[in-house]
Amino acid sequence: MSRNQNNEKYPGYSKDVIDILEKFGVKIWSIIEIKTRTTEYKGILLPRSKFSEPGFIEIKLDNGYNIGVQLSKDIEIKILGKREGKYNVPEKSFPINKKLPNIKLFGTGGTVACRLDYTTGAVIPAFTPGELFSAVPELADICNLDTEIVFEILSENMKPSSWQKLAEKVEKEANSGIDGIIIGHGTDTMSFTSAALSFMLKDLSIPVVLVGSQRSSDRPSSDSALNLINAVTVAAKSDLAEVVVCMLGSSSHKYGLIHRGTLVRKMHTSYRHTFRTIGNIPLGKVENGKITMFQTDYHKRKKSETKTLLKFEEKIGLVYSYPGMTNDIINFYIDKEYRGIVLAGTGLGHTSTYIFDSIKRAIEEGIIILMVTQCLNGFVGMDVYSTGRNLTQLGVIPGKNLLPEVAYVKLGWVLGQTQNPDEIKSLLLKNIAGEFLEREIPIAFNYNADEL
């Protein structure tokens, strides 16, 4: 059977099916009646997913159900009409109240609010202030909202240049007097971006809040509206001047947690409360419009000029250590002229001794190797076992409590700031954006957010 074509007129349809459809003059969105050997169907011909099975057509029946019908040569199709789905998000103008703070929302491609194209099932994002107001009218009670789409990409397709662009946008807005910034972001790489912005923005004067949703906003149970309301509340009302992530703190639609941008991680593929602060408890929470801080040690809003330190070295790698790993892996990075590697080591910060050769070679060739732990929680302790001592002797830098992703971002950023080996080491070990913990409080490992 012929595979599905990239045919613009018949998206997702296979060659043999397109031939039959063309024979009857049927187009996508045609209302058709099909007679098969056994029965008849009436419905609208729909575009099809390119991953679907060849040999079928897909129609929407009158009752709203979609079905796939296998086409055979003896099929008969009659055209009854045409009905194309064309949809707009309703737009109301976002009310302005001079007494409320001004908030800017940057879009990066995630959908905080959206509506559905029922015919195709595609999600049409709501994004302009008017669209958002129509979807989440509660926002107008908290702030005056302005929005800007910075880019429209899936979060897994973000690059360091995306972080740089966002940092520049934040700098500009912060210095022109906005009261707070929200960044709508896909949850997959949200903690990379939050870490990158934390390092790139210097003397930040206002809160920068990253927010997303774990249940898309096309479903009634979505967390997106609540997350958006909570994030706007933090951006508008909190006295923070840091990059934070604000997402639901429990499976219940009760409260959002405020996580420091350099200590946060997505910890579950699908839970609403997937984000957790690692190594500490969250900075605070927001519930029904009220912000409660759990910590006092954070940067406060101030009248400073926000600056950026954007340079980023992209030739860095993040390598997960595992039993049976060979020198080939590290040699690859050396041969490809990488400048730094974050090793997510086992336990207290270990790799097998069998790859010492390549590690030694890498360091000799000037490559920075930063060790963190794949346990995520706890500090690396490279003086405890001989493997750790050997690695530090080789020149591996212990990365304390850094999360692997944060270490990756930090290493790229540090290498962007300086070429001097001593400065690199000292910058790497300096607490720049709250990424290092002075001490780990006992409750940090398994806190129950409901009880904080």
């Binding site: 098969t36 056994t38 029965t39 008849e40 169907y41 991953f51 679907s52 099975e53 079928f56 897909e58 029946l61 009158d62 009752n63 709203g64 159900y65 979609n66 079905i67 796939g68 019908v69 296998q70 789905g85 949809y87 707009n88 998000v89 309703p90 509506r115 559905l116 029922y118 015919t119 195709t120 099932g121 999600v123 709501a126 979807a135 249940r215 898309s216 906003s217 096309d218 479903r219 009634p220 149970s221 979505s222 509206a225 609540l226 499976s251 219940s252 639609h253 009760k254 593929t269 699908s270 839970y271 609403r272």
Partner: protein
């Protein structure tokens, strides 16, 4: 009850039958498909639902109505039975192949055409009954038919395979509690064409389809595992969906009362037209009467206003007499409006001028004052609502909207079936617009081979089985039907293989004995198929007599975990040999010789009682009677000598 000329009225009904399937696990996750009754939950999760924008960028009216209720939803779950899927925290797993096979089998029995490629759709529900806000559902087959016992054939539109919703436990203030054990149990929804023209046909059709489903042995056969909805319209009326027809006997009163309601609503429209009243006359002018009626003699209004509630009124021009018009037995147009107000705003009760206002305690003067403030003329009607201002305004909005609909006859809506045969407003009709493709799952291809395999292994139709068993075992067809509706046909088939001697005894045991025990408060739901097969195996081996059945079932119901041998021993129902019986009888006869001498054969009855006390369940009563009679006769002869 009024009988109607259904043909003249143009009555058209369709029914939807929802039946839970008896698969081991749920439809989209591998949690066990088991209800937990009243067992208390391990955890709760709180959620809010928001409407999603529908087709053409507008909100679905039914969804907005749900949202405007401002409900908090609380889900109750069990750690051993509920996974993150039911909590809407994990995408769906593979659609249960066992459930698909059962659905295909049912579709084939209903002579339907199976869909080649199944697409999972989402059907939005904002009432909280599904945590993700939509039910996953797929149409499996179309275009079939079922022939009723009367010979009439009813067309069938669809068979859908879908997830059951969560169980509603209670509503407390604005909190709705749902339990998640039922959520995700696979069910089929069978939709008939509107080919049903009388209430009797509706009942027959529902029963016929039910019989077919329960006869397969592949569906759940417990109370609540089958649910019926009814679609009704008459000429010039509208399609009304009635949800939750729990019993077959409800069909006729529900349909007749709905006809009455639609006729009366059409009458109201005509009356308004005759009087020259127009929809535009209804203004949104609501008047706060709290100050004027602060000191009213109507005590609940008086108390209400003093506690901070507000009394609002509205005048409805030309509506005199209409709110008091009876639509269904004991339900007036006023009830219809009040019911919708309560469903949407949560506010209970309204006062209208077609009622005897003096019964509320209002004085003549107060009534005049209200009329004056609202500018109510004799041909008008006024409506009063008491409550918190925000709720009252919402209620007034519902009153205005519903009153305006009176000009259009019967508003299409979804109504809830009530036990007395009436219905009440449940929600607006959902349109096809709330269905959209499930982006979390792939289409499922149903191959020709699979369809062929299922069609070659179809179970027999229950009506054919009824006939066959009735002839084979000399029992009534109705008994087989009863077995099917008790969910005990399979068990019967198993037992008849063990104990061919007495089919009637098996039926009596399965249907009557258990029913009688249940009535006596015995927990017969503890009885398993194994209990019954042990019982009849024992009968077959002559280890027990049929008199012991009841006692054994009671014991097993109370101690379901004791094994059958123990039960027999505990009840001391080791079968008595005839020799031992004769010995026992002889002993008693010798003891009661005076009685025999005096009463002669009339002593049989008391002596039988005495013997049975000793041997009950250990030997057939008939044998006891025979031996006892013989023993008494012998004794009498002996005495005469």
């Amino acid at each position: 009850m009024t009988e109607y000329n259904y043909k003249e009225l143009g009555l058209k009904c369709g029914i939807e039958i929802h039946q839970q399937l008896n698969s081991t696990t749920k439809l989209f996750c591998r949690c066990p498909s088991k209800l937990q009754g009243s067992r208390s939950p391990d955890f709760t999760t709180l959620r809010y639902m928001r409407p999603v924008l529908g087709e053409m960028g507008e909100y679905d009216e039914a969804m907005l109505t749900e949202y405007s209720k401002g409900m908090t939803i609380i889900y109750e779950g069990y750690n051993d039975l509920i996974c993150t899927y039911e909590l809407d925290e994990t995408p769906p797993f593979e659609c249960n192949p066992e459930a698909i096979d059962i659905a295909l089998m049912i579709a084939s029995l209903l002579k339907m055409t199976v869909i080649n490629e199944l697409h999972i759709s989402r059907k939005n529900y904002l009432d909280g009954s599904v945590p993700c806000g939509f039910q996953r559902t797929t149409v499996v087959a179309t275009d079939g038919e079922i022939t009723l016992a009367s010979g009439k054939t009813i067309g069938l539109e669809f068979v859908c395979l879908e997830e059951d919703a969560a169980r509603k436990i209670k509503t407390e203030n604005k909190n709705q509690y749902f339990r998640l054990d039922r959520l995700g149990i696979p069910l089929v929804e069978i939709t008939t064409k509107p080919d049903i023209y009388t209430p009797q046909e509706a009942r027959d059709c529902a029963e016929r389809i039910g019989l077919l489903l329960w006869g397969t042995g592949k569906v759940k056969t417990i109370l609540g595992s089958i649910r019926q909805d009814l679609n009704i319209s008459i000429e010039n009326g509208s399609r009304i969906e009635i949800k939750g027809v729990q019993k077959l006997d409800w069909f006729t009163p529900l349909i007749n009362n709905e006809i009455s309601r639609q006729i009366k609503l059409i009458e109201i429209t005509n009356k308004l037209k005759e009087k020259g009243i127009k929809q535009e006359y209804i203004k949104e002018d609501i008047v706060d009467l709290s100050k004027e009626l602060r000191d009213t003699k109507c005590s609940f209004v008086n108390k209400g206003i003093k506690s901070g509630k507000k009394l609002f009124g509205i005048n409805l021009p030309g509506f005199n007499g209409i709110f008091g018009l009876e639509l269904q037995p004991n339900r007036r147009f006023g009830t219809e409006v009040a019911n919708k107000v309560q469903e949407i705003s949560g506010l209970k009760g309204l006062i209208h001028s077609d009622e005897d206002l003096k019964e509320y305690g209002f004085s003549e003067k107060e009534i005049d004052l209200i009329k004056n403030k609202l500018n109510t003329k004799d041909s008008d009607c006024f409506v009063l609502v008491l409550g918190i201002e925000k709720t009252v305004k919402k209620a007034m909005d519902v009153i205005i909207k519903r009153t305006k609909l009176a000009f259009k006859g019967v508003p299409g809506e979804t109504r809830r079936a009530l036990e007395d045969g009436n219905t009440e407003f449940l929600r607006e009709l959902h349109g096809g617009a709330r269905l959209y493709p499930d982006t979390d799952s792939k289409a499922i291809i149903i191959t020709e081979d699979k369809i062929k395999r299922i069609q070659q292994n179809l179970p027999k139709y229950p009506w054919d089985l009824m006939k066959k068993y009735s002839e084979q075992f000399k029992i009534k067809e109705q008994s087989i039907k009863d077995l099917i509706f008790e969910g005990k046909l399979k068990l019967f088939e198993e037992l008849i293989n063990i104990y061919k001697e007495n089919p009637t005894l098996i039926i009596t045991t399965l249907l009557e004995t258990t029913k009688a025990l249940r009535r006596d408060g015995i927990n017969v739901s503890n009885l398993t198929n194994t209990h019954f097969s042990d019982l009849f195996t024992s009968l077959k081996k002559n280890e027990i007599s049929k008199e012991a059945i009841e006692d054994i079932l009671i014991k097993l119901s109370n101690y379901p975990n004791t094994n059958f041998k123990e039960v027999k021993e505990q009840l001391k129902i080791i079968k008595l040999s005839e020799v031992d019986l004769i010995k026992l009888i002889q002993k008693i006869v010798n003891k009661e010789v005076e009685l025999i001498r005096k009463s002669e054969m009339r002593s049989f009855s008391p002596l039988m009682g005495e013997v049975m006390k000793e041997v009950k369940g250990k030997i057939d009563g008939k044998i006891v009677a025979e031996k006892l009679k013989k023993a008494i006769t012998n004794k009498l002869e002996e005495l005469k000598k």
